[in-house]
């Protein structure tokens, strides 16, 4: 079972050196314990582009799809047997990056 752990920033901006080191340590732990699937940090919402190609012609918008003080700055995708395991990983992840995180299940296992 895979879970998306989204990292939410509320304006703290770039991570500090201490936070980066803690995240590195957490990533190593995920890999060592077999939870690691993928992870990454994202550019700020200023760098986002919205595309809507539902109407035949792709409309390009120079903005994030939601303007908000809180936005996604990164994520982990983890492998966990159930939500209890995922929530523990998310708690450790939140501590490491010093930000709030949201946990959501993937609908089906693409493995």
């Amino acid at each position: 079972m895979k879970y998306l752990i989204s990292v939410i920033d509320d304006g703290t901006g770039v991570s500090t050196r201490t936070e980066q080191e803690a995240v590195d340590a957490f990533n190593e732990r995920l890999q060592a314990q077999g939870h690691w699937v993928f992870a990454g940090g994202l550019g700020s919402p200023d760098t986002a582009t919205v595309i809507d190609n539902r109407g035949g012609e792709a409309i390009v918008m120079d903005r994030p799809f939601v303007e908000s003080k809180e936005y996604l700055v990164g994520f982990w995708i983890v492998e966990a047997t159930d939500l209890d395991v995922a929530l523990k990983l998310a708690a450790a992840g939140s501590k490491s990056c010093n930000r709030r995180v949201e946990v959501r299940p993937f609908l089906s296992d693409p493995a």
């Binding site: 079972m1 047997t81 939500l83 209890d84 929530l87 959501r104 299940p105 089906s108």
Partner: protein, 420 residues
């Protein structure tokens, strides 16, 4: 016929959670368990009057529910093969023999009270799955539309399924926190019965307090070594014992000091006191519910309010403040302080709580009573007005209104107040 009806009601009360838990464990789905248990009881309603009550109603219901679950899965499989897999819990292990029924009910309770579910969802799910209340009954209890309550329960079940909330009792290291979460749900159900909110609503809902006590008894039986489960049960029993004395014939809340102590339920008090003594004898540092139960034990041991050991009550509140430094606890402590040190000392403590509690009716009601005792009639009146405005319980509003209207004319020292 009446006997059969009683047998069905009794079986529903005693066996519902067992049946749901057994089916949930076997088939790995709360949806299936709920449907199958409901169908099994519906079948009993039809069959028992004709065939007689089976010698072991619980076993009959569980077997019937298992058959209904299999039927249900067959029907669903025909409808949509792909959905079936998604409906299952993480349930790779072999089905366990059905010998550890107690543990299965515990599993059910822990799943319904999972911390990833909102408090509202936990309460609704626990009352439905463990308590066996219908969606309509739960909706009525919490004054929401039946469709709203149905959606709340469906959403919770869907989250359990899709996010894979595990169907199991927590690991030992997580147990204290998870038990606390379960007890919080039961306490909330009890409190809603004990001091029901909303106008046009019975001030006390004995159906809810009885259900909360029943479920807490179950948790206590399943976890006999947990001091807080015993503490919460004692707290509920000592509160429930005073139920009939708490509201007057005219529907007004009767405060502890004015209650007819002869009307208290002696059997419930005895059981509550026994549990409190048991916890004291255990010699383990008590948690919040045990301390609250001990406070209630002091109150219910006294023949009247004057003979109450108020220093003991203050000492217990001091202990509670160390565990739970919330302003509401501090407010209750101040009420006891008034009995030991007088209203002035208590008011000084209460006034410090204005910032967090300005929107809480009990804060204003407490101030009003203290100001009355100090003879500050005008200030007391203002405080009563605010308390009445904020109180949500009809019996409490009636009591506060009478107290306000009993205030004498404005006393000396306050005739400078410009606004009457």
């Amino acid at each position: 016929m009446r006997d059969v009806q009683e047998a069905i009601t009794g079986a529903h009360r005693e066996e519902w959670a067992r049946v749901v838990a057994a089916v949930a464990k076997r088939f790995g789905s709360l949806d299936i368990a709920e449907e199958a248990a409901a169908e099994a009881f519906a079948t009993a309603v039809v069959r028992w009057p004709a065939d007689g009550v089976p010698p072991n109603p619980g076993a009959w219901l569980t077997t019937t529910a298992h058959r209904k679950a299999i039927d249900w899965i067959r029907r669903e499989n025909k409808r949509d093969d792909k959905q079936k897999k998604a409906q299952m819990f993480n349930n790779d292990d072999e089905p366990e023999p059905l010998d550890d029924i107690e543990d299965e009910r515990l599993r059910l309770i822990f799943t319904c009270c999972h911390p990833a579910l909102s408090m509202e969802a936990r309460v609704a799910l626990t009352l439905r799955m463990v308590g066996g209340l219908t969606v309509a009954e739960i909706a009525r209890a919490f004054l929401v539309q039946e469709t709203t309550m149905g959606q709340r329960i469906s959403r919770a079940k869907a989250k359990i399924r899709v996010a894979r909330i595990p169907y199991r009792s927590p690991a030992a290291e997580d147990l204290p926190g998870r038990v606390a979460g379960v007890l919080a749900v039961l306490f909330l159900v009890f409190n809603e019965g004990y001091l029901a909110t909303g106008p046009g609503h019975d001030p006390i809902r004995p159906d809810l307090t009885a259900k909360a006590i029943r479920l807490t008894r179950l948790v206590r039986t399943l976890m006999p070594e947990d001091g807080e489960a015993a503490g919460l049960l004692a707290l509920m029993l000592l509160t429930e014992a005073r139920r009939t004395a708490r509201v007057s014939a005219s529907g007004e809340l009767v405060p502890l000091a004015e209650q007819d102590r002869g009307a208290w339920d002696a059997a419930l008090l005895a059981e509550g006191h026994r549990l409190v003594r048991e916890r004291l004898a255990a010699g383990v540092a008590p948690g919040r519910y045990q301390i609250l139960a001990a406070i209630n034990a002091v109150h219910t041991s006294a023949r009247n309010v004057r003979e109450t050991d108020w220093s003991q009550v203050v000492a217990l509140y001091d202990e509670l403040v160390r565990l739970d430094p919330s302003p509401v606890v501090a407010l209750n402590r101040a009420i006891a302080v008034a009995e030991v040190e007088g209203p002035k000392a208590a008011l000084a403590e209460v006034d410090r709580l204005e910032n967090p509690l300005a929107g809480y009716h009990a804060y204003h009601a407490t101030r009003a009573e203290l100001l009355r005792r100090m003879g500050s009639t005008q200030k007391a009146r203002t405080a009563y007005d605010r308390a009445i405005e904020l109180a949500g319980n009809v019996a409490e509003t009636a009591y506060l209104t009478r107290r306000r209207n009993q205030l004498g004319p404005t006393t000396d020292g306050e005739h400078h107040v410009l606004f009457p």
